[in-house]
Amino acid sequence: MSPDRRTRTIKVDALARVEGEGAMLIRIAGGRVSEVQLRIYEPPRFFEAFLRGRGYTEAVDITSRICGICPIAYQMSAANAMEDACGVRVDGALHDLRRIIYCGEWIESHALHVYLLHAPDFLGYESAVQLARDHAAIVQRGLQLKKAGNGLMALLGGREVHPINVRVGGFYRVPTTSELRAAAEPLKWARDAALETVRWVSRFSFPDFEQDYEMVALRHPSEYPITEGRLVSTRGLDIAVREFADHVIEEHVPHSNALHAAIRGRGTYLVGPMARYALNFDRLSPLAREAAREAGLGPVCRNPFQSIVVRAVELVYACDEALRLIERYERPDRPALEVPPRAATGHGCTEAPRGILYHRYTIDASGTILDAKIVPPTSQNQKAIEEDLARFVQDRLDLPTDAMTWQCEQAIRNYDPCISCATHFLRLEVEQV
């Protein structure tokens, strides 16, 4: 190895193809990785602070604005937490509708990430627009798949970004049975396109790189987890959502505007598609499991570069699941349950496309929010991302800086990080010392 490669800095000041603003800095000194920072410099927006004093029914629309890529995740975690505080459970057709709109968000977000943000790395393009110059039909397929997800969000939520139809207790207006059934045709096309997506991405070449993370996801008695469940891990964690804060600690580190989360006593953990998949393989639909097998994925995947295949499998699942629920839909009598406020603390946790999103609110008897706590998936994954980078770089010290930088960016994009969420993004720098 040339001596100048043993001591250098790899850095990216503004990471691309991620949501929000972040940077990367990796220092290599004397042939060892001495420092790795995923910097989140996106300015904070202080949601938890200004939620204080607002009404309990307002959190759904306000927290949605933390992230334009996963607004449904925020809306659902907020609604769940408020319903938990008030002692109300939403089930039946309203629960099904919540799952369907959430499937819409998974489809939109996963298709965006697989086709527009992540696949270009594997094929050596700087963007999907460049990729489309050589592979227009493929990019078109991705865009149409994304559109199918957005179609569900618009049908049930009124619009794709910050839907207006979700409320504590249910919805403002529920679709008629025939309105919802009409959504089935485009979804059947989308399910086939998702199966083709699994085949396409499974043929990419993946670096030989596995990590032994503790993975955390929701687990539900019968469903692949989306809107509810217990929190479980690959190292034996099994707790109710309300116990989250007893097991997860958040630290504030100087290089980041996002808080880092860790499991008390153990440290780094991973959330997101790989974790959901590993902990809930048996809950996937037969079609999605079959697609995973064909793609050569075992029931657990530990190579973060292969998360793109897992996302594609979840695309199949989300289309399949939405179709199943649409077929059995009968319009409920009322669009929402009454949820009268009471003085209490409520917890809500749902599976955002990028992993578990936890909300906790304390409200008073009139429903005014006294305290709010939000832990997004990307802040939970920050440590895992930094650890991946450290090991990945250590094993590839021979790479020239340009190639190293690009591959490190790709390693970050494995996580589909959402920096807007985590600051409520990141600067990537590799520094020469």
Binding site: F46, R52, G68, L143
Partner: protein, 261 residues
């Protein structure tokens, strides 16, 4: 090839404090995105591409509000390198939901969210782009409407003003034949004072408008507040209604201040 590339108008998309929802609306133009990429050179759009060009740019779309000294400087540089600059969304046009800090002490906010406040650099106010540089056109909404976005893109690429109506959501309800939620069901609605653009989405879903497109031109907010009072809304309720995603828009700010204790 290289020459043809240079002659295409150059589009840039920028982000400041925001949720990414407005720039996502560009990527949500699923049917139009590839044709658009044929007509313009996407010179800077970090969410979509790691390739960036320094400018100058023919059209800059700006999302997000200014909340740090560094960002205040960055927007000046972007303005210098842009022929036209259009703000997209409530954050860029009014300061966004993060402008709620403008009504409070930001130090208190920082300590509520972060254990080590000394690591955070931020300004005490969130301000719209037009407070810092000259803006050629402001597109409203939290988020922007994709139809309106296409109109803005088409208009600037063809050198004309965008045709974006300035009336209220109320007018859109009438056009769509949506029954007024306030008259028929007594549901408080900001539609009469809110800028059109969404197609009266909320009333069409049996809920009152919450003003995400911000104030229309010369809104009669006082008369609407009086009406809301008759529907049983308290002063505190009025303050909160006018203080959401466009809290810092002058007309909404003033109305909210009138109802403060």
């Amino acid at each position: 090839m290289a020459r043809a590339q240079r002659q295409k108008p150059r589009l840039a998309v920028w982000k400041f404090a925001s949720c990414d929802g407005c720039q996502l609306t560009v990527l949500n133009l699923e049917d139009e995105l590839l044709p658009l990429a044929g007509e313009v050179e996407i010179a800077h759009f970090l969410e979509a591409s790691r390739a960036t060009a320094r400018g100058p740019y023919d059209l800059s779309l700006v999302e997000g509000s200014i909340t740090t000294a560094h960002d205040a400087e960055r927007i000046r540089q972007i303005r210098e390198r842009s022929r036209f600059l259009v703000t997209i969304g409530a954050c860029a046009t009014a300061g966004g939901i993060q402008a709620l800090r403008n009504f409070k002490d930001v130090k208190e906010f920082i300590s509520i969210v972060y254990a080590r406040p000394e690591y955070i650099a931020t300004l005490d106010r969130s301000t719209p782009i037009a407070d810092h540089v000259q803006v050629d056109f402001e597109l409203r909404g939290c988020p922007i409407d994709r139809g309106q976005l296409l109109e803005v893109l088409t208009a600037f690429l063809h050198g004309r003003r965008p045709n974006i109506p300035a009336h209220s959501v109320c007018v859109e309800c009438k056009r769509r034949g949506v029954v007024c939620v306030m008259v028929a069901r007594g549901v408080p609605c900001l539609g009469p004072v809110t800028h059109a653009g969404c197609g009266a989405l909320c009333p069409a879903h049996d809920r009152g408008c919450y003003g995400c497109f911000g104030p229309m031109e010369t809104p009669n907010t006082a008369s609407l507040s009086a009406w809301w009072r008759k529907l049983g809304v308290t002063d505190d309720g009025l303050v909160r209604a006018f203080r959401t995603f466009n809290a810092n828009a002058p007309e909404f700010r003033k109305e909210s201040e009138r109802h403060e204790p």
